[in-house]
Structure formats: structure tokens, C-alpha cells
């Protein structure tokens, strides 16, 4: 399995945290909340589409809601592959950062 990119990792995590309420608007908000990054929907959908193709995510239509003028939202859920990929990313992170809590400048 290929390693996740930073953006993919962030989006997958956002969806994971959102549980059953992950659709365009909330995903964007969550990412902004976590990292302060302001992704455009264009970028977001590009990456979402790729991750659906890579089978990290599945798409599902929800019930039509009044807030969207009677149209349904498209929700995103993690697949097992998606979860595995996230776990692997976590593992790598932990290994890379192991034993480091704060970096200090060292002169050679």
C-alpha cells in the first residue's frame, strides 16, 4: 500500500472524526478546525475522488434535507483499506517522532 500524502491523511482523519456526518461542508470545516488550512471545494473534491478510486472511501447518498433545498448530501465513509492506511500513517508518525517532545537547536 502506498503511503498517504499529507492532504489525504488530513482529509481521511477529518472524515474519521466526523463519524456519520462527513460531507463536503463539514469536511472542509473540520480540516480548517484541525489545521487552519482553507482547502477549496475544488481541491477537496479532486482528492476525495482520487481516494474513492483508491478505495479508501466510499460515497453514499443521504436522505434529502430541507437545508439543501430538498437535495440529498453525499456522505463519505472510511473503508477498511482507508482505516488501515490511516493506522499505518499513525504508526509511521509515531516511529518518526518517537522520544521527541520538543526540538532544540544544537550546534555541531
Amino acid at each position: 500500500m502506498k503511503e498517504l500524502s499529507k492532504a489525504e491523511e488530513m482529509i481521511l482523519l477529518a472524515i474519521y472524526r466526523l463519524d456519520d456526518n462527513a460531507y463536503g461542508v463539514t469536511i472542509r470545516q473540520k480540516i480548517h478546525e484541525i489545521s487552519g488550512k482553507d482547502y477549496t471545494y475544488g481541491t477537496l473534491y479532486g482528492i476525495l475522488e482520487q481516494m474513492v478510486n483508491k478505495n479508501y472511501l466510499i460515497r453514499e447518498k443521504g436522505q434529502p434535507t430541507s437545508e439543501r433545498g430538498g437535495r440529498s448530501k453525499t456522505f463519505y465513509y472510511l473503508t477498511q483499506t482507508g482505516v488501515d492506511a490511516l493506522n499505518k500513517a499513525l504508526e509511521i508518525h509515531q516511529r518518526i517522532w518517537q522520544g521527541i517532545s520538543k526540538l532544540t537547536f544544537k550546534k555541531s
Binding site: 472542509r28 471545494y41 475544488g42 476525495l48 439543501r68 448530501k73
Partner: protein, 849 residues
């Protein structure tokens, strides 16, 4: 949300991948409303716009990414295919490039021909008034027209003084042509005056306007204005300098002298015609009322003794003169709209042939690619994608061909200009207009040529293809054969046409023209006084190789006058007139039927007149010798007919033979333009040197300018010789391109039948039999094409031959020869491959599978 934002939103969301557009839009709208509630309308709208703009790059990039990958793939397969089948590809591209180059060159030529005289600002208001079948009108006419017709704003006329010696201090040159005209010329035509006043130039007698090139030639370092310059017999004051006449004008000149210098410019002369008259109307539509009034104008002024000989005045629009006017005494050599039509048709056919090649070869080659198509379809390519792929490929090829074609044009343009004798520069073409047009054209050709193979190929079902059923079917075979038939139809028509043009040229150059044009040296452009020419004649006759010498005003093919003569019974005849001396008949070796030529022994002969046989026949003159006639040259002059000369072609063979009257012109101030010398010599070089020596001895101040009568006479056919050359080149190219196509096609057909030939050979077929089998299939279509070309070429060439009063007949042997030629070429093309296939060892072809 405003409708504009909504629209933009929709446009952007269209770019999002399939199936996501709705949620992209809905998400944005939802967040927009959230912001609307919290931050207010303006900031929400601002956010929306910024967001959309920020989205664009990623959206577009993401969307294009996959397309580019696909394009890269298509390009890769295209190039692989190109290089794998180098033979096919180069035939394909080269054929199309040749087609492009040919049609571009012809397009340049045609647009150049159509541009004639359009540089005059008032071109649509300018007309030329002509008489019956000639340009010449009486000198008084322009003035009378301007006086009598309120529709006319300005009228002017040109007298053709042809070639004149021009002298300024130590500079003496011949200048040709020198025209006489009036001040109105500068109001009618858009000739730009660089010096001098448009309103006053040429108003006085003995004034001249020089062209720029002539001015720099005589006055390299000084201001030419008001300098005195000698032209011919008169001295002129330089009143103005104008820009050189553009190449695409129907007449040109080196300088313009004032008509008022001459008696005809000051007096009202009506009974002689040698002027080209032009008028400019107030409004282009006034021409109908002018045309209606011309007959009355005619009866008012022009001598009208005999209704049979009533001249008929007509008008021609300026812009139609170059291509549509073929009158006598034109000021310049005109083009021919028939040539334009013929060349345009040739260009169109050339490009069609090239396209057919392209289509044929692409379709044929594509059969090799059916497996590729099968694989693509199995892997999931849609028919639309396949069509796109093949169209793209053919567009690519046609663009490459187009670029090669452009390079060919740039490379060949000088040669082509030389061939057609027109100075078409790349600079004279309006690139802003032409280049996009050409690129669009090449794309269109690529599309047209690619559309058939694309649709045809993409229609295969993968199963059919994979089972190795050779696709094609009857329809495509008929289609391909039809195209081969068309190509060879055009090619054999061109072969027949070229042969006919060459035969006609042969005819006009070798027809018995009634005089001997060989071995006559002509000293041109002289203005010596009569004693000097007599002295020169005597000196020249000293040489043993000089048979006879004559001074004359006219020579065959070098123009003539036109005058009225009246017989005793008041019959008026219009005759072409020649002015000669005593020895003219000896030099040209004219045959006399009755009477005698001018003779020194009869002192009255200088008032004699000699008619040609046609004049006697056409006007039913009985016992012509001794008849008294009145000759009108400004005033009536009594004359006696002293002889009848056998008809000779004093004009080109475009014109039927007409009446001619020969006058004794020396000592009467009617001008000597030529001294012709009949020679009988093997050593032309030495003789020319001798003549030049003698000329210098008699006229030390005059340049020696000579030519040979046969060259001068044949110069009347330069247009036809050019047409012949161009037709020949195009014929070659068309045949070559058709053969390329046939060659490519035969490779393909034979490849398909290799196994069949193998089996036939195993079963005992001879090599010759196999070659025959492979070749005769194409040959029968070529024979059919040839049969179809007979009526077509007959029609076209009869039309072309109408230009000539004397023409060759379209004999059957021409057709047979062309047919044999076409079939032979086609057979050679096909057989090279079929022989190779027939010679091959059947083991090789049958071993596989």
C-alpha cells in the same frame, strides 16, 4: 444568490469530475447561506467569488490531467505507427504536402490576378470606352465625352508612343513604353505624385511626368523638376515625378508626356483611332445611362458613310480589363479568366486527389490496425474515443503535411514566379488573413480525410476483429475503387490537356504564316532621320550575307495602325495599316498575287497602296490594281492600288486573318520603328557584330538594340507557352500523386493476398499469371477512368482552344496515346509490387499459422 454568481458556480462545477458536480454545487451553496446568515450578504458573496476563483486551478488541472495523459498516449501510438510504417507515412504526408503546396501556389497566382487595378481608389467608377473589337478610339473622343455627358467626372486618353530614345545630358537610353496623356489621368487613377502639382501637371504641351525609377536613372543626384529632357524628337520639361506603376496594373509606362505636344492632342481628330480612352463617373451606376447614350454620341461625331462599317462604342469596367478584355491594341498584355478557371479547377482537383490519397491510405493502413481497435474496445474504449483518436491522428498528419507544404511553397515561389512570369512576393500577401485561412483549411482537410476512416474503423466489433475476419466488405472496396477511378480520371484528363496544349503550341509556331520569320535581324526602336537610315541600308548591303534591308513602321506581331479607306464607289473599308519602304516584300519574302510592290522605278508608287488578298476578297473588289482610293489619315489622301499581296499573318494566330493595307510610309513623317535585315548566314554572331559596327558608324549617339523576328513573333505566345509549362508541371504532379496513392494501395492489397498467391503458386500458377492476377484488378478501373476522361477533356480543351482562330483538332490518337500512357504508368506502379509478391517463395508466405 445573484444570477451571475449562480451561473459562474454552474460553470465551475461543470469542470468537476462526473457525478460530483451536484454535491460540489450544493456544498458551496450551503456554506454560502451559512455565511450569509452570520456575516451578511456582501462578505458571503465575496467569499463565494474568492472561493470559486481559488478552486479554478486545481479543478482545471485535475480535469485536464487525465486528458493530457490520454493525449500523450494517443500521440505515442500515433508516432509509433508513423515510424513503424515509414513508407506509408511518407507517401501519405508527402502526397498531401504536394497537394497543399500546389493549391497554395495556384491560390497565390489567382489572388494576384484578381488584384489587378484594384489599387485605384476609384476603381469601381472607372471605365474604358472601346470601339468594336479594339481599344483604340479617336483622339477627340475623351474631350467630347467629358463635354457631352454630365455623368462623367473626368475623361482622359492615352496614346501609345511605344519605345522612345530618352536623352538627358550624357545619358541616353531607350524607354518603353512611353505614353501620352492628359492632366485628368491623375484625377482618375490613383498614381501617387511624389513631386509636382496634381492639378497642373501635363496641362501644357512639352511637359512630362517621370516615374520614380526613371527619375533616379536620369537624375541620380539632382532635383528633376523643371529640367529639360529629350524624348524622341521633342524636348520636354519635367513637371512631376510619380511612384512606379504597380506590377498589378493592366498597363504600365516609364513616363507620361503631355498629349498637347502632338497635333492630335490639340485638334479634334475623329477619323483615326489610336487612343485608349478612360472615364471616371460620378457614381458607378451611371454606367447604364452612359451605355444608353453612346450610340447617339457615335452618330453625332463619327463618320458614318456605310452602316456595315459603323463602329460600335462600348464600355468596360476597369477591374474587368485584365482578365476579360482581349481587344486589339491593348496597352499591356492581359491575362485570361479562362486560365484562372483552368488553374483553379486544377488546384481543386489537385487537393482532392491528395485528400483521396490520404483517405485511401489511411483506410487501407487502418486494416492493419484492426487488432489495435479490437484491443482498445475490449479494454473499454468507447466509439467516440476511437473516433477522436483517429481524427486527431489525421489532423496531426495534415498539420505536418501543411507545414511541409508551406516550406515547399517558400522554396518554390521564385521558380513558380518565373514560370508564370508574375512577380508574386511573399510580402505582397496579407498574412493576417491568409495564414489563419490556410491553417483552417488544412485542419478541414485533415478532418475531411480523417472522418471516413475514423467512422469506418470504429464501427468494428471486437469479436469480429479478434476472430481475424478481414473487415472491409463490399462497400469499402467500391469506395476505394471509386476514388482510384476519380484520381486517374483527373490525371488522364490532365495528360490529354497537356498534350493538346503542346500540339496547339506546335501548330502556332510552325504554321505557314505567309512570310519567312527565320533569319531576319531587326534593329528596333530607332528615331534616326531618313537619310541616316538610307545610309545604313547601303552600308549593310555591302556585306555578302545580307540579302535585303528594309526600314518600316510595322512588323508582324509588333502592332499596326487601323484606318479607313474609301473606294471610288464610296465603299468605306476599315483596314489594318502597315507603313513600309521599297524592300519590305524582299525582307519578309511576301508573295505578290497581282501588280507589284513599291518600286523605285515608278515615281508615283509613293502614293500607292497594296492590299492583301483578304481585303480584296472580303470587300469584293474587282480588278483591284489601278483602283483609286481615298485614305483618311487626319485628312483625306488620294491613292492608287498598285498590288495585291498574298495573305500573311501579321497578327498572332489568336486572331483570324483580316484586311491589311500597306502604304509607302517613308518621307511622310509616319515614322520608322524598325530596320529589318534578311540574312543568309551560318555565322550569326559575326554578322550581328558587323551590323552593330555599321549602326555605330551611322548613329554614334544611339544605343544598338536588336532582336530576331522569329523571337519577336513567338513572344505573342508567351501566355500560351506559360500555360503549357504550368499544365505540364501540374500534370506531372497530379500523375505522381495519383501513382503514390495507387502504389500505397497496391502494397496493401497485395499484402492481403500474399497467402492466396502462395497457394496459387503451390497449385502450379506461373509467375506471369500471378503478376497479371494482381495487376489487372487495378488496371481495369484505370481503363474505366480513362474512358470517362475522354468526354471531360474534350469539353475542357474545346473551350480552351476557342482562344485561337487557328486550332488543332482533337484527334483520336491523342486520346489513345494518353490512355496508353496512363495505363502504362499505372501498370508500372502496380507491377513493381506484384512482381515481388509473385516471385516470393510460397513457403515463406504459407509457413506461418
Amino acid at each position: 444568490m445573484s444570477s451571475l454568481s449562480n451561473f459562474i458556480l454552474k460553470m465551475v462545477s461543470r469542470l468537476i469530475a462526473n457525478g460530483q458536480q451536484a454535491s460540489f454545487r450544493d456544498d458551496l451553496t450551503e456554506e454560502f447561506y451559512i455565511r450569509l446568515q452570520s456575516d451578511g450578504q456582501r462578505s458571503a458573496l465575496f467569499w463565494l467569488w474568492i472561493h470559486l476563483i481559488r478552486s479554478l486551478p486545481t479543478v482545471v488541472g485535475f480535469q485536464l490531467f487525465w486528458r493530457i495523459i490520454m493525449w500523450k498516449h494517443y500521440l505515442k501510438t500515433s508516432f509509433r505507427m508513423l515510424f513503424k510504417t515509414k513508407g506509408y507515412s511518407s507517401i501519405n504526408i508527402f502526397g498531401l504536402a504536394v497537394g497543399f503546396a500546389c493549391s497554395m501556389l495556384i491560390g497565390l497566382f489567382v489572388s494576384y490576378e484578381l488584384s489587378y487595378d484594384r489599387f485605384h481608389v476609384n476603381a469601381d467608377r472607372i471605365f474604358r470606352v472601346t470601339m468594336t473589337d479594339e481599344v483604340s478610339t479617336p483622339p477627340a473622343m475623351a474631350r467630347a465625352l467629358a463635354r457631352d455627358f454630365p455623368e462623367i467626372e473626368y475623361a482622359t486618353c492615352f496614346s501609345n508612343l511605344r519605345i522612345q530614345p530618352v536623352k538627358y545630358e550624357e545619358h541616353i537610353f531607350y524607354e518603353s513604353p512611353v505614353l501620352g496623356t492628359t492632366n485628368e489621368c491623375f484625377h482618375i487613377f490613383s498614381f501617387k505624385l511624389l513631386a509636382g502639382d496634381r492639378n497642373t501637371v501635363l496641362k501644357e504641351p512639352n511637359t512630362v511626368v517621370l516615374t520614380e525609377s526613371m527619375s533616379t536613372k536620369y537624375f541620380p543626384n539632382e532635383d528633376p523638376l523643371h529640367k529639360m529632357i529629350i524624348i524622341g524628337d521633342n524636348t520636354y520639361r519635367v513637371d512631376g515625378v510619380m511612384e512606379d506603376v504597380p506590377e498589378n496594373a493592366h498597363f504600365t509606362f516609364r513616363c507620361l508626356v503631355s498629349n498637347k505636344t502632338f497635333p492630335w492632342g490639340r485638334e479634334d481628330w475623329w477619323n483615326t483611332s489610336f487612343m485608349s480612352t478612360y472615364v471616371m463617373l460620378h457614381h458607378p451606376t451611371d454606367i447604364t445611362s452612359l451605355n444608353d447614350k453612346l450610340p447617339d454620341f457615335e452618330t453625332k461625331y463619327v463618320y458614318d458613310g456605310d452602316p456595315d462599317h459603323k463602329p460600335l462604342y462600348m464600355s468596360q469596367p476597369l477591374t474587368s480589363i485584365h482578365l476579360h478584355s482581349h481587344l486589339r491594341f491593348e496597352l499591356g498584355q492581359n491575362g485570361d479568366y479562362k486560365n484562372i478557371i483552368i488553374f483553379t479547377t486544377a488546384a481543386i482537383f489537385m487537393i482532392i486527389i491528395a485528400c483521396i490519397n490520404f483517405m485511401n491510405l489511411t483506410t487501407a493502413r487502418s486494416l492493419v490496425r484492426v487488432r489495435e481497435i479490437g484491443i482498445r474496445k475490449t479494454v473499454g474504449s468507447t466509439r467516440k474515443q476511437l473516433i477522436h483518436q483517429f481524427l486527431g491522428e489525421s489532423l496531426l498528419l495534415s498539420l505536418v503535411a501543411f507545414i511541409i507544404g508551406i516550406m515547399m511553397v517558400l522554396f518554390l515561389l521564385p521558380t513558380f514566379c518565373h514560370l508564370i512570369g508574375k512577380p508574386i512576393g511573399i510580402g505582397s500577401i496579407n498574412m493576417d488573413l491568409v495564414l489563419p485561412g490556410l491553417i483552417g483549411f488544412s485542419l478541414m482537410i485533415g478532418l475531411l480525410a480523417g472522418v471516413y476512416p475514423a467512422i469506418f474503423l470504429s464501427s468494428y466489433s471486437p469479436v469480429q476483429v479478434m476472430k481475424n475476419v478481414h473487415a472491409g466488405g463490399k462497400r469499402s472496396v467500391i469506395f476505394r475503387n471509386g476514388m482510384v477511378i476519380f484520381q486517374f480520371l483527373v490525371s488522364s484528363t490532365l495528360i490529354i490537356g497537356t498534350l493538346t496544349v503542346y500540339r496547339q503550341l506546335h501548330l502556332i509556331q510552325n504554321k505557314n504564316i505567309g512570310f519567312d520569320k527565320e533569319q531576319v535581324l531587326v534593329i528596333k526602336n530607332l528615331h534616326p532621320d531618313i537619310l541616316k537610315s538610307e545610309a545604313l541600308k547601303q552600308r549593310l548591303l555591302q556585306h555578302p550575307d545580307v540579302v535585303a534591308v528594309s526600314a518600316s513602321g510595322n512588323l508582324p506581331g509588333k502592332g499596326n495602325g487601323r484606318n479607313w479607306i474609301a473606294t471610288e464607289d464610296e465603299d468605306t473599308l476599315i483596314v489594318n495599316s502597315y507603313f513600309t519602304d521599297f524592300n519590305y516584300a524582299d525582307v519578309l519574302q511576301l508573295q505578290l498575287i497581282e501588280g507589284r510592290f513599291f518600286s523605285r522605278e515608278f515615281s508615283t508608287d509613293t502614293a500607292g497602296i497594296i492590299l492583301n488578298a483578304h481585303a480584296v476578297r472580303a470587300n469584293n473588289i474587282k480588278d483591284p490594281v489601278g483602283k483609286r482610293v481615298t485614305f483618311y489619315y487626319g485628312r483625306p489622301i488620294p491613292m492608287t492600288v498598285i498590288g495585291v499581296v498574298e495573305d500573311f499573318h501579321f497578327e498572332s494566330l489568336h486572331q483570324p486573318l483580316t484586311s491589311l493595307a500597306i502604304f509607302y510610309g517613308i518621307n511622310k513623317g509616319w515614322g520608322i520603328n524598325f530596320i529589318s535585315v534578311r540574312l543568309r548566314t551560318e555565322h550569326m554572331q559575326n554578322l550581328v557584330k558587323f551590323v552593330e559596327q555599321e549602326w555605330k558608324a551611322v548613329n554614334p549617339a544611339m544605343p544598338f538594340d536588336y532582336s530576331f523576328l522569329d523571337d519577336e513573333y513567338d513572344a505573342m505566345y508567351t501566355n500560351e507557352i506559360r500555360t503549357g509549362k504550368v499544365a505540364f508541371v501540374f500534370c506531372l504532379l497530379a500523375v505522381a500523386v495519383s501513382c503514390l496513392g495507387l502504389f500505397g494501395l497496391s502494397i496493401f492489397i497485395i499484402e492481403q493476398r500474399v497467402k492466396e498467391i502462395g497457394i496459387r503458386k503451390v497449385l502450379g500458377e506461373s509467375i506471369i499469371g500471378a503478376v497479371w492476377l494482381l495487376s489487372c484488378q487495378s488496371l481495369k478501373w484505370i481503363i474505366l477512368a480513362f474512358v470517362l476522361s475522354i468526354p471531360l477533356s474534350l469539353f475542357v480543351m474545346q473551350h480552351w482552344l476557342q482562344n485561337f482562330a487557328y486550332r488543332v483538332s482533337m484527334d483520336p490518337w491523342i486520346f489513345l496515346l494518353s490512355g496508353a500512357l496512363a495505363v502504362l504508368i499505372a501498370f508500372l506502379t502496380v507491377s513493381t509490387r506484384s512482381i515481388k509478391a509473385a516471385m516470393a517463395n510460397p513457403v515463406d508466405s504459407l509457413r506461418t499459422e
